[in-house]
């Protein structure tokens, strides 16, 4: 079927619209990159002199370094716990029936719609009431609740797409339930598990609002350290750190896309 002039025009307008919107998405990242290489401490576009000294300053700044370490601990623990809890529960949700099944699911998923400042405030007061010090345990507990829905969804989708005949075959050959799970189910679920864990780790590492409430100076994560920096200083160290952040995240996503198929993890790939 020949395309009319109108259809061609429509196509061009569509492409232009998409390019404009993608430009809007990239704009802040591009501008921040320009600002990061500016030699002067005050913003100027385009920068008059260029330098990489803000990167050195950002990397040497103690709060950023400890924030990175703390964030690493919190994200590592929270996402691993969430993976364990999410995987076992997704399995029970998919295969078993038990009392309060839907209620439990609804409670765990509801942390998606409860504002993070409410969750943060809740954990802060709760920790104070039961006499927990504001250490890592509170931060990790809070993060587990926040990232659990994402792991749950990722593992649940993989479980649904899993061919149960393979498990039945193993069971009919005499494998015990534990052996079936260990040798058939878990290996088949691996991409979903890795995807879910990675998603949880990245989200936890970047979580800010709830972290602001539950962290103390000693447990402050990187986003909290960055927030405090932006409030106090205006030099481009923050821009330099942002550039590193953006580069690391984009690289991670490109790699994840190559190995895991981001489209599948996010469920936006057409099935046909």
């Amino acid at each position: 079927m020949a395309r009319s002039a109108f259809q061609r025009l429509l196509g061009i307008v569509g492409v232009l619209a998409v390019l404009t919107i993608l430009g809007f998405v990239i704009l802040p990242a591009a501008v921040v990159t320009l600002a990061a290489f500016n030699d002067k401490a005050i913003l100027a576009f385009p920068p008059e002199t260029w330098s990489g000294r803000w990167f050195a300053k950002a990397l040497a700044y103690e709060d950023f370094r400890s924030g990175f370490r703390n964030g690493f601990i919190v994200a590592g623990c929270a996402s691993s716990i969430a993976l364990l809890v999410g995987t076992t529960f997704a399995f029970a949700l998919d295969r078993y029936s038990f009392p309060l099944k839907r209620t439990l699911e609804a409670v765990l998923l509801s942390s998606l719609v409860v504002p993070h400042f409410t969750i943060g405030l809740g954990f802060l007061i709760l920790a104070a009431q039961i006499g927990w010090a504001r250490g890592f345990a509170v931060v990790i507990a809070c993060h587990v609740v926040l990232v659990l829905p994402f792991v749950l969804r990722s593992v649940y989708v993989s479980l649904r797409n899993l061919d149960q005949k393979l498990e039945l075959a193993a069971a009919s050959l005499g494998a015990s339930p534990a052996r079936v799970i260990a040798t058939i189910t878990l290996p088949l679920l691996a991409p979903g598990l890795v995807g879910g864990w990675l998603l949880a780790a990245v989200l936890s590492f970047n979580e800010f609002t709830a972290s602001l409430f539950v962290t103390a100076q000693r447990t402050q994560t990187l986003p909290v350290a960055m927030y405090n920096y932006v409030r106090e200083y205006a030099d481009p160290s923050m821009a330099a750190l942002s550039v590193l952040y953006i580069a690391a995240t984009a690289t991670l996503l490109i790699v994840a896309n190559l190995y895991l198929g981001l489209g599948k993890v996010l469920n936006v790939e057409s099935r046909r």
Partner: protein
Amino acid sequence: MQPQPFLRTFVFPAALCALGFLAAMATVLQYSLRAYVPGSLEAGGLSFDNFSALLKPLYARVFIDTVWICFLTAACALLVAYPIAYALVHAQNRLIKAAILIIAVTPLFLGEVVRTYSWIVVLGNNGFINSVLLKLGLIDRPLQIMFTTFAVVTALVHVTLPVMVIMLAAALAHIDPSFEKAAQSLGAGPVRAFLTVTLPLSTPGIIAGVTTAFAWTFSAFATPQLIGGGQVNMISNLVYQLGLASFNFPFAASLSVAGLALTFMILSLLRVVARPFEKFGPH
């Protein structure tokens, strides 16, 4: 009934998490009903004063502003995200598809602080936009873009865009392309085929996207705090101010509870409004 090996072992950790979460929420609820004792971190006895104080014009105003900002953000994000989601699903070239996906999704993983800071650099008085306009001679002195609702909504749309794209693309990807082809073979133009077939079929994605965008915007803190700079306040800013600056935890808790009630009210309202459209769903 089939055997259910490890049932208890599998459900117990999740139950523990749910319990912790519910306990935290219950603490907020309990604190919202207690009196504030100035100068003390401990709350006083049972009192409804916190909730009656919420009706003061100062706080009512913040509630209205919050809902308005959430509404604007969700609507703008929908308009901006739809073409991207459509292009993502319909792009033929794998490389273009991957590029759109990565560009659209990267901001989701940057966190609120990095994105908000980037927007400050773009919108600030000696930021990118003002510098460009000054160089071009279009303006004589910097425009005041920061600390306006416009600036806050712009940054918030940028924050919610990735989720919206993911939700819309998931819905669009599951629509059978032969429906649109059928409409076109029956004589509908591409615009009409889109408006009468694809758009209605994507309503579940639109509803999911708008709902999530609304809830996420409601939860936003760094963006209104840093870009709004005290001129544009949302409930989150007030809760932070009262909780961590004034240590008035009971009032911060009652604000949270009221905010939560408001979120659930609006989300259920959205669901009721959306119900007639759900029959268009692909499943």
